[in-house]
Symmetry: C2
Subunit: 242 residues, 2 copies
Amino acid sequence: MKIYAVGIGSGSKDGITYEAVKTIENSSVIVGYDKYVELIGDLKKDKKIYTSGMRQEKDRCQKAIDLALSGETVAVVCSGDAGVYGMAGLICELAEGFPELDIETVPGVTAAASAAAKLGAPLMHDFAVISLSDLMTPWETIEKRIRAAAEADFVICFYNPSSRKRADYLKKACTYMLEYKSPSTMCGWVRNIGRDGEEKGICTLAELTDFQADMFTTVIVGNSTTKVINGRLVTPRGYDIR
Amino acid sequence: MKIYAVGIGSGSKDGITYEAVKTIENSSVIVGYDKYVELIGDLKKDKKIYTSGMRQEKDRCQKAIDLALSGETVAVVCSGDAGVYGMAGLICELAEGFPELDIETVPGVTAAASAAAKLGAPLMHDFAVISLSDLMTPWETIEKRIRAAAEADFVICFYNPSSRKRADYLKKACTYMLEYKSPSTMCGWVRNIGRDGEEKGICTLAELTDFQADMFTTVIVGNSTTKVINGRLVTPRGYDIR
């Protein structure tokens, strides 16, 4: 009667925590998006597996709840952190009628942190995390948050910056940010973090406007002090380094 | 000639990633705040160790650079994620004159994610991370960011919400947020995450105003949709769960 929402990190084999591995090992069933279940490799050996495709989140969480209610110990695996735009919340919502169900989140390294590490150290100061997916959030809300974060000089990390149907969303976000942030603001992006085909780049906010992200890209836009030091994107914390 | 800035997670033994453990194992020297170096237990066996106390960050990072330049492989350990208000940025800044020095960040689970996991699933939607420490940031900047994040209905996670000299900073932050957010906004806090004496609580924003945080507390303030389901703090992502 237990469900774990388990974050497995960004995708490299070693980016997972010991706690996540132990949790998966001690579970009887693994539930997840098929591509993420692939990522856990041998950990799934000898387990019952329930996978489904993109946008089947509700179906997977409901299945996990049904399995747990039938006595299984269920690990729902998510890339990054299960608690950041992951499955942890949906499980809690769908299980509202079953207060006896034990639900626990096992956190992981979310894409903002993995991308920041690849780029240098851009998250050394206050930052905002914004998803550009408007599948479940009105664009007006997203626009308001981008403008607020830009005006208050947050470092901003964008999840889901693009997809086939939303190819120009990052460009729109850049247009808003350029009303408050300098075009020379330093930015970075990482694609396929920790997986085959990993790529990254550092550019200005003006250049980011014409960058074509895809759904496997994480984008970080610096604050007014973010700079490039020896090829690394760094937001100073404010130490007097003289 | 290599420095790794290594995030070891929130403090529980199993919250560390495999990558972080391997990195520490392959290093010849470990540098860190003495309390964090204690947390890695046996991993420090047979290593050279350089520790110092609170507020000695610059000293530690400079020492790490000197050691790396002398040929050592250095792991600078940080709690949570070395890239979120951690040592990664200061190392890059102080090493500006040594472009030959190889600096790499090994990310970890930051306190926002660990605290969220303990509370339920409050970070399911856009969120802002703000440090309430004004040691190196003007309070006006902090105030502006709190107001911007509150007005745009971000979930907000506060790091360093209090210290002996700044006992009333969280109260001040709550006062600003109450200009934009309802007093019934659901919030949560976790103290000593993953360590001895771990405590947590869920309360309203009105109640949070009178909560006395300490420097080992992480505070999460929900957005307008955040609610409590079976004792868990949950921010709905927007799925139609009927």
